[in-house]
Structures are given as C-alpha cells and as structure tokens.
C-alpha cells in the first residue's frame, strides 16, 4: 500500500547540511503492524511525518495507495490523506475547547459527512471504546490514558486504512500503555487496519509484525515476525 524509495530529508543549518533521513527505502503492505525504533534524533518521527504527508522529503519517491504522492498538489494530498490516514500523538493533542464528543467528530466535519451520519458514527465509536459516559467532558477533565483513548477514537472515526502513531504510550503508565497496545493489536488483527508506530519501548515494539531500527537516518535493521 505504501512505498518509499530513496527518501532523504535534510535541513540547511548555516553552511552545513543537517541530514535527518538518508536515502531510505521502505515497502509497507496492507495489514502490517510496524514498529519503528531507534535512538533520539535517528529520524523516526520525521519518517512518520513524511509517511503521513505532514512533512515533505527533499528527495525521493513516495507512493501511497497507488498514487505518486511526490507529484500531488497540496489539495490532492490532503484529500488522499483525509481518506486513508489517522494520526495518534504522544501528547494526545486533543482540542482543549472541544468536548470528547466534539473532538471525535471533528475529522468527519472536515470530510463533509452529514450531521445525522456523524452522530451515528461518533456514537458507535464512543460505544466501542466504552467512553459514552465521558462524551461531554473536556480533555482537561480526563486522565492521560483516557485522553489517548479519545485520540485513537478520533484517529479511527473516519475508518482509515493506515494509523500512524508517534509514541502513543510515551506519556502513559505501563498499564495504560498495555491497554493501548492491546487495542492496536486488536484493530490490526480484527479490522485489518495497517499500523505504523514509533516507539522507544522494546516491549511495545513486539506487539507489531515487523520492527524497523533507524540509526542516523538510515534503516539499520528490519525484522519480521
């Protein structure tokens, strides 16, 4: 479903090139659950952002769902990404001024889903994550684990084919982290959602079907289970 070929990303700092990603090539098939690991500064998040089209590489080719992303215009890219990709952040990044319900609903608004349909979909999602009782609370009134649950619910609401998670458990305790990972595994196995996560934790990485190790912007190793 996804193919990166010879992707490089660098910043010009003074006269020096600060290389973040160095000639990375990567194929991802539908139904995979990939964990990206590596020390700080190895380019994990940048890679994830490029896959998620939040960031653009300086060089290389990027294909997603059969389309050449590097040739698309901003608008088409946005359309493609709205349809297929959901994002989960380490810091949850819920909108503070919106309730749980409204946070989950927002992506649907951007996809012009009708009001009645939205209602049904959000209700469904609240049900599935068992947070119906919390739907009118604001993010500040929730624990970190609950906030991340809402974050994932928001990422899933538009039924994406691919979930990108940037250290989804980084701000959570180990019990909460395990719950989230179990949820990811279930999504991957039962719903066939492709997941790519960035993580520091060996244990969380093992929930995946493949582990990719990055070092200094290069793929150091790739293991499949």
């Amino acid at each position: 479903m996804l193919s990166l070929q010879h992707i490089s990303k660098y910043y010009q700092v003074g006269g020096n090139k600060n290389i973040i990603l160095n000639n990375i090539s990567l194929e991802v098939d539908e139904g995979e659950f990939i964990s990206i690991m590596g020390p700080s500064g190895s380019g994990k998040s940048t890679l994830l952002n490029i896959i998620g089209m939040l960031d653009e590489p300086n060089e290389g080719y990027h294909y997603f769902m059969g389309q050449a992303v590097h040739q698309l215009k901003e608008k088409q890219r946005s359309a493609l990404y709205k349809r297929y990709i959901g994002f989960v952040f380490q810091a949850y990044h819920l909108i503070d001024e919106l309730t749980v319900y409204e946070n989950i609903e927002t992506p649907l608004i951007y996809q012009d889903v009708k009001g009645s349909e939205r209602k049904a979909m959000v209700a469904d999602m609240l049900d599935r994550f068992q947070i119906v009782g919390k739907k009118d609370l604001f993010p500040a009134q929730l624990s970190g684990g609950q906030q991340q649950l809402v974050g994932i619910a928001r990422a899933l609401i538009a039924s994406p084919k691919l979930i990108l998670a940037d250290e989804p458990t980084g701000n959570l305790n180990s019990k909460q982290g395990e719950d989230i990972m179990e949820l990811f595994r279930k999504l991957n196995k039962e719903d066939g959602v492709t997941i790519i996560q960035v993580t520091h934790s060996e244990k969380n990485a093992e929930y995946g079907t493949r582990i990719i190790n990055l070092l200094d912007g290069k793929i150091e190793s790739s293991r499949k289970f």
């Binding site: 939040l54 901003e74 994002f87 990044h93 001024e97 919106l98 609903e105 608004i109 996809q111």
Partner: protein
C-alpha cells in the same frame, strides 16, 4: 461545520476574558465612532435630496472678477434678470425671485398670539420649484393673491391651536392682514432653506417703497433667485447661454467681469466656498475630514484586534496543528478564524449600536444635528451587514492568514516559538496606531490654539453688556421717547442706532474719488454704515483723529468718519478735512478717523469702512449699566419696549453671543477632533495594555531569572516598558509632519492665524508618552512584583 467553529470561538472568548473584553470593547468603540460619523456624513449628503425634482434645481449667482478687489461669487442678484431668464433662455422651466428666504423675520399676530418666525417673500413659482409637502391648500394657487400667506404646521398650531387655519387672517408686521392659503409640513432638518412662513413677492413690492423700480434696476443686487431646468437639460447646456447676460443688459458690469452662474441646490449645503466662479469647498472639506477620521479610528480598532489575536497565537497554534493533522486544510482554518472574527465583530457591533444610541443625544446637541439610527430602514441594515462583514474581514484577515500558516509538525513538536515571528508586523501596526492617535492630538491642540488666538484678538470695540434690537416701524416712531425712558430706568447706560449690527455689515458701497487718487484708478469697495449720535461712545470705538458727529442734525449732513483701514487704503496721510465722493454723494468731508473694528469675520483684517450720520438706521444698540444683572435688566427693559411696540414680542441679541457664534463652527470642529482624538488614544491604549500583558507573560521566566540575579523592580519595569516607549516615540516622529501636512492648509484659510511652533509637537509627544507609560506600567509592575520562585518552578 460553522456550529463547530462558533462553539470554539465562544469557548475561547469565555476562557480568555481579559482579551475578549479588550477586543470587543476596543472594536465596539471604533465601530461606534465610525458609525456615528457615518450617520452624520450620510445626513450631510442627504440635504435637499428629499425634494422630488432636486436634480433640476439651481440657485442663480453672480461671479465678479474685479481687478482691484479680487474675485468673489455672491447669491445677491438683481430682479430684471428673472424675466430675461424666463423669456429668452430655452431649457429653463421655472424662475422664482425671492427675498432672502429663511433670513427674513416677519412678525405674525393672531389676537394676542405673537410670533417671529423665519420667513421669506417668494414668487408663486417657488412653491413648484421647492415642492415641500403641502398639508392643506394648493401649491399652484397659494401665493397668487398679494394678501396671502402659507405657514408650516407648527406655526399654524401656535397661532390657531386645533382650529383649521385655512382662510383665517394673520396680521403681518402690524401693517396688513393676510389670509392663510396653505399649510405645509414642517421643513425637515435636511433642507438648506429653512423657514416657517412664506409671503408672496408681490407683498414685498407693495410694502417696501424702495422696490418700486427694482424690476428695471440691473444694479440693485438685493434678491435671491432660483430656477428649475427642464427634464433632460443639463447645466452644461445652459451655462454658455446665461454667462454674459449681465454685461449684455448692463455694460457697467464689464469692469468687474460680471457673470451669471447657477449652483445646483443639492450642492448648496456642502459647497459654499467659491473660487473662480466654481464651488470648490465648504462643509464638504469637513465631511471628508471626518470621514477620514472615522476610517482611521476604525482602523486603529481593527489593528488592536489583529495584534491581540496574533499575540495570542501561541495558545492557538497547537489547535491549528491538531486540526491540520486530522485533515483540515488551510482554507478551512482561514474560514474558521474569519468566522471567529466575524462573531466578535458582530458582538462589538451590537455594543456599538448601544453606544451610539447612548451618545446620540449629546452628539446632536453638540453638533446641532438631528441624526438618529434608522432602525426601520432595510437599506440601513443592509449597509450594517456589509459594515460588520467588512470590519470582521479587515480585523480578522491577518490573524486568519497568519495562524493558518503554521506548520503542524513544528507547532506540535513545539520547535518554533510562534507569536515571536509576528512581532515585527505587530510593532509596525502599533506605530501606525499611535501615529494616527498622535496626529489627532496635535490637530486638536492646534485647532484650539487657533480658536483661542482669534478669540483673544482685539476687536476694536467693547462687547461687554452690549445688546442690539431690530426696530419695527412702531419702535422707529417712538425712538426718542423710548431712548429717554430706557436711560431713565437706569438699566441702560447708553443708546444709539446704526444700519448694521456690530457683528455684521449689511451694506457695501464704494468710494469713487479721493485726494491722491491715481488717474484711471477705480473706486474702492468699502463697508457703509449709517449711525446716529453717540454711536462711537456707546460701542466703545476710539476716535484717533478729528471729532465725533455733533448732536445737532444740521451741521453734519455732508460729513463722514472713516476707519484706519479706509485711510490706509486711500493712502491718506492727513485724512481729516479731506473731501471724498462716497456712495454716489459728492464731496463728503472727513471729520474724524476711528479705530478699526472687526465686524465681519474675526479671521480677516478689518474692512475699510465709512460712517455717515443719519436718522434712518433701524438697529438699536444699547449698553446695559455696569453692575446690573443682565437677565433681570432685560426683563425690565422688555416691558418698556412692549409699551412702544405692542404688536411684536421683545427680541434682542447680546453682541458677545453673536460674536461667539462666529466661532461655532471652529469650536465644533475642535470639540469633535478632541473627542475623536481621545477615543483613538483610548482604543490604542486598550491594545497596548493587551500587548503588554502578553509580553509580560511571555517573559515571565526571563523576569524570574533576572530577579534571582538581583534585578530591581525598576529594572524590570524599564525592561518591559522600553520597547513600547520606543514605538510611541517613532509614532510621534511620524505623526508630526503628517499633522502639519493637513493643518497648514487649514490654517492658511484664515488670514489671521497662529504660526505652528515646536511646542505643540513636544506637548503631544509628552502626552502620548505619559499615557503609554501609564498603560504599560500596570502590566510591567505586576510582572516585576511576581515572586520569581513560582515562575521558575513551573518550568
């Protein structure tokens, strides 16, 4: 989607109460100012447009280009022109000659009810040219009869109560009875001709003997005249046909290049200043000036909004990042932020309507206007929707484009310090704001200085306790007895009569010959005033040379007294005993020279004036005795007047009031400029207050560290205030030449004006700096007093 946006906007407003209040209040004040000015401007443009045929209406004017006295345009015209226009110029539908509609006052009496309403004497065609709505009677026939009158509803009510006024009798000026043949609606405030009653022009001819031959006198320019052009005829088509009519029928006008021109009635209110026979300015200059001020104050308010919004962007940046990450396009975000600013603008608009409603009364009283908010007008609401939308977009566009441009990856990671990037544009905007405000302060100060300077100018006579009364025929007959009784009452110190009051000159004439006149040199235009005994003593004008008129009427029939300006204009070194030809009278002897007095505009030099001695003048001038209470005195004097003048109500003017009225316009402009300057500064300070709070918040940690390292409160205060002071100083430097650019031409319009010195700029700069320091210090000191431990711990 909009619901979602509105919800966010609403919750954001609630969460940041201080910012919201600053935003809404600032914007509301700005919008109120612009709305108020807009209503005023709209009213000025609405003058006379209610007349159904206003596009075809013109007033006849004469334009002269005299080689010696310069060029001027006057509304006073001569009567024979009326018939020439009627019969020889195709394209003119109607002509109406009038006797100063609205300036004349007629005494109307029914039983014991006496009124002195503004009146006019008009040709019957006037009612068809000016189609003021009639309530009763027929405009086509109303003024055909000599002894007829039309009155407005208020006058009808005052004279006849609830009775039907039609065909009832009114006594006019205690001379003739006339019949009411029509009642018209009270003239609206937006009419440039305002009057309460009209008499036929034939009545004027019948009752005023001097008019006997007026229809043959091409030199008797004592009337006003209006015309209506036929539909589809433009002034451009008519102009060449009328231009030379004066010279054609009266070759004497060749010397002064007399020309006939028409001025559109719809322009009369706005354009009163003529240059080279073209209306070039007048009230329109002030309408434009205040439109500009309104726009500036609104701009200042919008800048507040922009600055506060972008300063607060740090708090919104994460939201932008998240929204982009979950599928929002930049377009959506721009739309969202514009929705927000429109919502705030709408809230501000509601407040501004409330504000305008509150200040409308005082504003009308101050400006002498009658504006109101036209709540029932669809057009008004249509314009208001546009106004809110435009203001919202103006204020919201910069925040919308700025905020929506954030890169989601960076803001979510917190790697860029948003808000800081916008600080240069923000500074520029603050400078723009303060430049406008300081320019307004400078302008206000200069306008006030000019008014004060002219008010303090010596006028050449003494205004204290001096009053004047126009005399009716009855008063003229009983003048000597009245005078004696007034003096005997000890309420009055001195009494005299003159043909002009002290604050106006009613007659201009010429000196045709004088000693030392160059061969071929033409006559001199001068003011001519006829006075009785005691004139100079009563009004307090000093004789410099020669003597006063003697009380015995025989000796001074061919004597005149001139003022200094007249002596100077003729170039006479020793004027006393010289002979001049004056107003068609040959060999008048100059017996005295009197000090110059300002009788017309206080801004121009005194006019050359010749006084002669006569019994005829009908304006009584008297000075109340020193030490009496003026109001009590007037009450007592009134009773004496009533005895000699039973048909008229007692009517008088204090010369000091009449003199001060000459400054009404300038004082008004000064007051308005002052109010708007204060508002502009207030709104700018609201913005500054918000920005200072933001900067203090952003630098909390830095301030904490500095305090731990030993910085005093004064140090921190300086640190935070300095930046803003620099901006305000830059604004002062920019504002000074800008204000100068606008005010120098304004001052040049007055012959007698101040010279702008550096003081006013220094004063304004110091005022602006003090205001800035006060505004910013609140936040700076608050930040400086905070305990550094708490700010550092939170890191």
């Amino acid at each position: 989607m909009i619901r979602n946006y509105l919800k966010i906007a609403w919750r954001n407003m609630l969460r940041n109460k201080v910012y919201s209040v600053l935003n809404v209040v600032g914007l509301a004040a700005g919008m109120a100012v612009a709305l108020l000015i807009g209503l005023w401007v709209a009213q000025q443009y609405a003058y006379d447009r209610f007349l159904p045929n206003y596009k075809n209406l013109y007033q006849v004017k004469f334009n002269f280009t005299d080689p010696h006295d310069g060029e001027h345009t006057q509304p006073a015209v001569c009567l024979p022109l009326a018939n020439v226009l009627r019969t020889t110029v195709p394209g003119i539908k109607r002509v109406a000659e009038t006797g100063w509609v609205g300036f004349n006052v007629r005494n109307l009496r029914v039983g014991d009810k006496k009124l002195l309403p503004a009146s006019g004497d008009v040709d019957p065609g006037f009612l068809k040219i000016f189609q003021y709505p009639f309530v009763k009677g027929d405009r086509n026939t109303a003024l055909k009869d000599v002894y007829s009158i039309v009155i407005d509803e208020s006058t009808a009510k005052a004279l006849f109560g609830n009775d039907d006024p039609m065909y009832k009798t009114i006594r006019v000026d205690n001379q003739h009875d006339v019949k009411v043949t029509g009642v018209f609606k009270d003239i609206p405030a937006t009419a440039s001709l305002k009057f309460s009653s009209l008499l036929p022009f034939s009545y004027k001819r019948l009752t005023e003997p001097w008019m006997k031959n007026a229809y043959n006198e091409w030199g008797n320019n004592s009337f006003e005249m209006y015309v209506e052009l036929q539909n589809g005829i433009t002034y451009e088509q008519i102009a060449p046909k009328i231009k030379d009519l004066l010279i054609k029928y009266q070759p004497d006008y060749k010397r002064a290049k007399g020309e006939v021109i028409f001025q559109p009635v719809k322009d009369q209110h706005l354009y009163s200043d003529y240059k080279n026979g073209k209306a070039v300015g007048g009230l329109i200059d002030y309408v434009r000036m205040f439109s500009l001020i309104g726009a500036l104050v609104l701009l200042i308010a919008c800048i507040n909004f922009m600055n506060l919004s972008t300063a607060r962007s740090e708090k919104r940046a994460r939201e932008v990042g998240v929204r982009k990450a979950i599928g929002s396009q930049r377009r959506d975000l721009i739309f969202q932020f514009l929705t927000e600013s429109l919502m705030i603008t709408f809230a501000a608009f509601l407040f501004s309507i409330l504000l305008v409603q509150l200040v409308l009364g005082p504003f009308n009283a101050l400006t002498g206007s009658t504006i109101s908010i036209p709540y029932g007008s669809l057009i008004f609401w249509g314009i208001m929707i546009g106004y809110v939308a435009l203001t919202g977009l103006l204020a919201g566009s910069r925040p919308a484009f700025y905020l929506s441009s954030f890169n989601p990856v960076k803001v979510l990671k917190g790697t860029i310090q948003v808000g800081k990037a916008a600080s240069l544009p923000r500074r520029i905007l603050v400078v723009v704001q303060f430049s406008c405000s300081v320019s307004l302060i400078i302008s206000t100060v200069i306008i006030y200085q000019q008014i004060q300077y002219v008010k303090d100018r010596p006028v050449g006579y003494n205004r204290d306790r001096l009053a004047s009364t126009f005399m009716s025929d009855d008063l003229m007959h009983g003048y000597d007895a009245l005078k004696n009784e007034l003096l005997a009452s000890r309420m009055v110190e001195s009494v005299t009569k003159a043909s002009s009051p002290l604050t106006n000159i009613f007659w201009h004439t010429g000196i045709d010959k004088w000693p030392g006149q160059n061969a071929g040199e033409q006559g001199i235009n001068i003011a001519g005033i006829t006075v009785t005994d005691n004139y100079f003593k009563t009004v307090g004008m000093k004789l410099i040379e020669g003597r006063d008129f003697s009380p015995d009427w025989a000796s001074d029939t061919t004597s005149v007294i001139i003022n200094e300006a007249a002596a100077k204009r003729m170039g006479l070194k020793e004027p006393v005993n010289q002979l001049i030809d004056y107003a068609g009278m040959k060999k008048q002897r100059i017996i005295g020279v009197v000090q110059d007095a300002l009788m017309e505009s206080p801004y121009t030099p005194a006019e050359p004036t010749v006084f002669n001695h006569g019994r005829g003048p009908n304006i009584m001038i008297y000075r109340l005795a020193a030490g009496v209470d003026p109001h009590a005195a007037m009450e007592k004097i009134g009773k004496i007047f009533d005895k000699y003048n039973p048909a008229y109500p007692f009517d008088y003017v204090f010369v000091d009031d009449a003199y001060n009225q000459k400054f009404n316009f300038e004082t008004l402009i000064g007051k308005l400029a002052g109010i708007f300057a204060a508002l502009a500064i207030f709104i700018s300070c609201l913005g500054l207050f918000g920005l200072a709070a933001y900067v203090a918040e952003q630098r909390t940690k830095e301030i904490g560290i500095r305090k731990v390292l030993g910085a005093s409160i004064a140090n921190v205060w300086m640190l935070l205030s300095k930046d803003f002071l620099v901006l305000v100083l830059i604004s002062c430097v920019i504002a000074s030449p800008v204000a100068l650019y606008f005010l120098e031409p304004w001052l040049k319009k007055y012959d007698y004006h101040i010279n702008i010195g550096p003081g006013v700029f220094l004063f304004s700069a110091i005022a602006a700096i003090i205001i800035t320091v006060l505004t910013v210090s609140f936040q700076a000191i608050k930040a400086a007093l905070a305990n550094p431990v708490s700010s550092l711990r939170s890191e």
